[in-house]
Symmetry: C2
Subunit: 160 residues, 2 copies
C-alpha cells in the first residue's frame, strides 16, 4: 500500500511553530523536490501543482525527466503568497499580482496599489474583529456571571 501525497495537515513535523524552516540549502544547490517544498511551506503537493496551473507561480524549473525542482527564490515567493493568503486575499487577486510581477518593472505602480488596498482591507478587518471581540466579551462575561447565579440568567440574557 502506497501512501503518496500526504493529506493530513498535522503531519507537518513542525508542531511548535516558529521560523525553524528546516534547512534551506545555499543558492546554487537549491533544487528542492516537491515533497521538500511541502515540508517548507505546509502546503500539499496537490496545492503546489495547482498554484502552478492557475498561474500563481513562475515557471518552476524541471529535472531532465520533467520533475519539479524548486529554488530558494520559489520558496521566498511561496512565503509571500502565504502571507497574502493570510490576509484573506482571493486567489484570483494573487494570480493578478503574479502576472504583474511577470510583466516586469513597468507594473510597479499597479502592484503598489494592489498591496495598498490589501493593506487597507487588513486594517479594516482588524477593526472589525476588535469590534466583534467586544460583543463576544460582553456575552462571555454574561455567561461568567450566569455561572454564579444560574437561575436568573435566562431573563438577563433576553434583556440583553
Amino acid at each position: 500500500m502506497t501512501v503518496l501525497e500526504t493529506t493530513n495537515p498535522t503531519t507537518n513535523s513542525d508542531d511548535c511553530a516558529g521560523p525553524r524552516r528546516q534547512d534551506r540549502r545555499p543558492d546554487g544547490q537549491d533544487r528542492y523536490t516537491i515533497s521538500e517544498v511541502v515540508v517548507f511551506t505546509g502546503l500539499t503537493a496537490h496545492t503546489l501543482r495547482w498554484y502552478e496551473r492557475i498561474g500563481l507561480m513562475p515557471h518552476i524549473d524541471r529535472s531532465h525527466t520533467g520533475q519539479r525542482r524548486y529554488s530558494n527564490r520559489d520558496l521566498d515567493w511561496l512565503d509571500f503568497v502565504g502571507k497574502l493568503r493570510l490576509t484573506g486575499m482571493p486567489v484570483a487577486d494573487m494570480v493578478r499580482y503574479a502576472e504583474l510581477v511577470r510583466e516586469g518593472d513597468h507594473t510597479y505602480g499597479e502592484r503598489f496599489e494592489l498591496l495598498e488596498s490589501t493593506r487597507r482591507a487588513v486594517l479594516d478587518r482588524i477593526t472589525e474583529l476588535q469590534d466583534t471581540l467586544a460583543v463576544l466579551d460582553r456575552k462571555i462575561s454574561f455567561y461568567a456571571e450566569a455561572d454564579l447565579d444560574a437561575g436568573l440568567a435566562r431573563q438577563v440574557e433576553s434583556a440583553r
Copy 2:
C-alpha cells in the same frame, strides 16, 4: 418580468453604515415579514430560510397562512449570528451553539467554552493579521521607493 429575491448586496439602502437599523417596532407588534428582515440584516431571503433549515434559527412564528413572521428576539439573534459570522466561525459551530441554547440553561458551561475558544481564535487572528500587515508594509515601502526612482512620485504622495 418579476424581480423577486433581490440578490445584489449593494441594494441594502444602508450604504452609510452605522446602527441606523430602519425602524424596529415595539415588542407586541414585532411580526416582520422575511423581506423586512432582509432590510434589517442585509442577508438575503434565501439565506434566512436556509439558516432556518439547518437549525441556526429557533422556530420562526408563522402567519395563519404559513408565512414567516420574525420577532424582535429573532432579530437580536440574527445580529448575534452576524457577529459570530464576522469572527469566521463555521456555520456548523454556530448551529451547535444554537442547539445548546435550545437545550436550555444546563448548557451554560458548554456555551461559555464555545464562546471562549472563539474569543481566543479571534485574538489569534488579530495577531496573525498584524504580523501580515508588517510584511505588507515592508513590501509597500519597497515599492514606494521604487516608484520614486521611476519618477512616479506623484502617485506615492497621492496615496498618502
